[in-house]
């Protein structure tokens, strides 16, 4: 189970609460891991929301669950299981033929959905083969910030650095291929290849997020910050930056609150993400209405 207040609990003094948080190496590791994951998930999630590939992103995360379960069953590290499964699934999804253009989307999502259901079932099998260790199942699905080792943090960091470096190189043509694939292709952008590379990067991000929020709650960091930022602004650079800031705040708040609470960290991260999205959507609806009223009251 996730932990309750380990030491003296809340003192209502932010400074000393924060110091207390940082006294424990497991908490420092969790914050480091959370920070790395929030940045990577924010950047990839921003493109994912723009590309309308949330379903693929969710599937990559779900697939990482049987990967991790199989890795535990085989006695190797869960981290490598997460990455291996998500990257293999990314390559499979990318290989689904999309040559028929827009019409292939429905058949693509049918394939993805089929793979997703089977992966989830395999995960359940692996966990029960391992001996019905229920606590482990909850952590795999809904997240845990306990027991993140320094070496795991290093792995997360290495994968994130490589993935972000690749994203920095393909960033602009990928954006072009996302918003305007036909014109991009006519201008020589390798649209299909970029889509494949993007899915593999997304697989890395989904595997990383799964290790913090659990396989079922990845959207907390993949979708929510990006959706929030895109509600607030239509400027690409600004909304990408806002996405990463929102992701960091959501993770830090979620981890801090989870430390003082008995409930799973995935719940808190998701709740803060949801609150941020509601606020952003609400403020946009409000400013939109104000703007319309202004237009109506001032005659053209």
């Amino acid at each position: 189970m996730t932990t309750g207040p380990l030491a003296s609990g809340l003192t209502w003094s932010l400074g000393s609460d924060f110091r207390q948080l940082l006294q424990y190496p497991f908490m420092v590791n969790a914050l480091r891991a959370g920070t790395i994951v929030a940045v990577l998930a924010g950047a990839l999630g921003w493109y994912m929301v723009l590309r309308r590939q949330s379903f693929a992103g969710h599937t990559l995360a779900i697939v990482s669950f049987p990967g991790a379960a199989a890795a535990i069953l085989l006695g190797i590290s869960a981290t490598s299981g997460y990455f291996a499964a998500a990257i293999i699934a990314a390559i499979v999804i990318a290989a689904v033929p999309r040559s028929l253009g827009g019409r292939a989307r429905s058949s693509e999502s049918a394939v993805i959905g089929t793979v997703q259901a089977f992966a989830l079932a395999c995960g359940a099998l692996f966990v029960s083969l391992y001996g019905g260790f229920l606590d482990g199942l909850t952590n795999l699905l809904f997240g845990s910030f306990l027991g993140i080792s320094p070496s795991q943090v290093l792995t997360l960091l290495a994968v994130a650095v490589v993935a972000l470096a690749v994203l920095a190189v393909i960033g602009r043509p990928l954006f072009f291929a996302t918003v305007d694939p036909d014109v991009a292709a006519a201008r020589g952008v390798p649209v299909r290849a970029l889509g494949t590379v993007f899915l593999i990067l997304l697989g890395c991000a989904a595997a990383e997020v799964s290790q913090i929020t659990g396989a079922l709650l990845v959207f907390a960091l993949l979708v929510m910050p990006a959706a929030t930022a895109q509600q607030l602004t239509a400027r690409p650079a600004l909304s990408l930056a806002l996405t990463i800031v929102a992701g960091l705040l959501i993770v830090w708040l979620g981890l801090a609150v989870a430390y003082f609470s008995v409930y799973p960290v995935g719940f808190y991260i998701t709740t803060f993400g949801f609150a941020a999205y509601l606020l952003a959507a609400g403020s946009r609806a409000l400013t939109g209405r104000l703007h319309r009223n202004q237009l109506q009251t001032t005659p053209a």
């Binding site: 028929l100 014109v183 650079a237």
Partner: protein
């Protein structure tokens, strides 16, 4: 031989797809700064004709020369607007950003944040983007998310995108499709103005000749596996189209100058994406 003043020359060109001839023995010549419309019923290979000019479709016979080079080699000197559906209404990206992609969208890497503040090249690029947006009359709505502006406004922004690099040839595939009549008229006038004032050769695929008729220098009428080219008065005539279609076709001129083509055999209706790669309709099905 292609003269220097010719922007596009087709010389007895033919295209085959999947072993079937789309059209053959097509010869046409567009001088620099001219406005050419590629006309004809759906599914006869109008898009294929412009794709052949762009080098996106290979030739089975003959040759195509664009701006003095073999098709496909004029690259950056051509602004291309593919046939498209509209942008998703939920796409939260400004029109300005879409136009800016025309300037550097295919370059690897990411633009430096605040680069325009200290890099002269970035400042010049940003200035050029503002200039083309002004040119197409899109300044008022370029700051709004592209999914939330009208079809005609999106089309103006896309024309701006195609113009950013100062192309000498502008290739537009059905830019007036799916626009309402007033938007068709104003976008057609805009394209003609760009053609005249900036000496840009325009190759425009259209289903209906009327919105662009007053501005045209030349038409290429594609049908029945071939094409006739010439000035609108030479080509859009009863006897020419009758010969092209091998069936009686009559061209009528309404009192307001609009042309009506009567008896033009339409390709069988297709309710799917009729202009996809595989969607060309066999000519003999008529």
């Amino acid at each position: 031989m292609a003269g220097v003043q010719d922007a596009v020359v087709f010389d007895h060109a033919a295209v085959q797809m999947g072993g079937r001839t789309i059209w053959s023995d097509v010869s046409l010549r567009v001088a620099q700064g001219e406005f050419l419309a590629v006309l004809g019923p759906n599914g006869v290979g109008k898009s294929t004709l412009v794709k052949a000019a762009l080098g996106l479709v290979g030739l089975a016979a003959g040759s195509v020369t664009v701006l003095g080079l073999p098709a496909g080699q004029a690259g950056r000197q051509i602004g291309y607007l593919p046939q498209r559906r509209n942008f998703d209404a939920g796409l939260r990206v400004r029109g300005t950003d879409i136009v800016a992609l025309g300037s550097d969208g295919e370059r690897w890497g990411l633009p430096l944040p605040f680069g325009a503040a200290f890099l002269p090249s970035r400042r010049a690029a940003a200035l050029r983007v503002r200039e083309v947006i002004e040119l197409v009359g899109a300044t008022a709505f370029a700051g709004r998310p592209i999914g939330q502006v009208s079809g005609g406004e999106q089309q103006r922004l896309l024309i701006a995108q195609a113009l950013v690099k100062r192309p000498r040839l502008l290739v537009l595939d059905e830019p007036l499709d799916s626009l309402d009549l007033p938007s068709q008229a104003s976008v057609a006038a805009l394209i003609s103005r760009i053609c005249r004032e900036h000496q840009v050769t325009v190759m425009l695929v259209a289903h209906d000749v009327n919105p662009i008729l007053p501005y045209l220098d030349r038409v290429a009428y594609v049908a029945r596996g071939g094409a006739v080219c010439g000035t609108p008065d030479e080509v859009i005539r009863s006897e020419i189209l009758t010969e092209l279609y091998h069936t009686p076709v009559e061209v009528l001129r309404a009192s307001d100058g609009r042309l009506v083509v009567v008896g033009e055999p339409e390709a069988p209706a297709r309710h799917t994406d009729r202009h996809g790669e595989t969607a060309a309709v066999p000519a003999q099905q008529w």
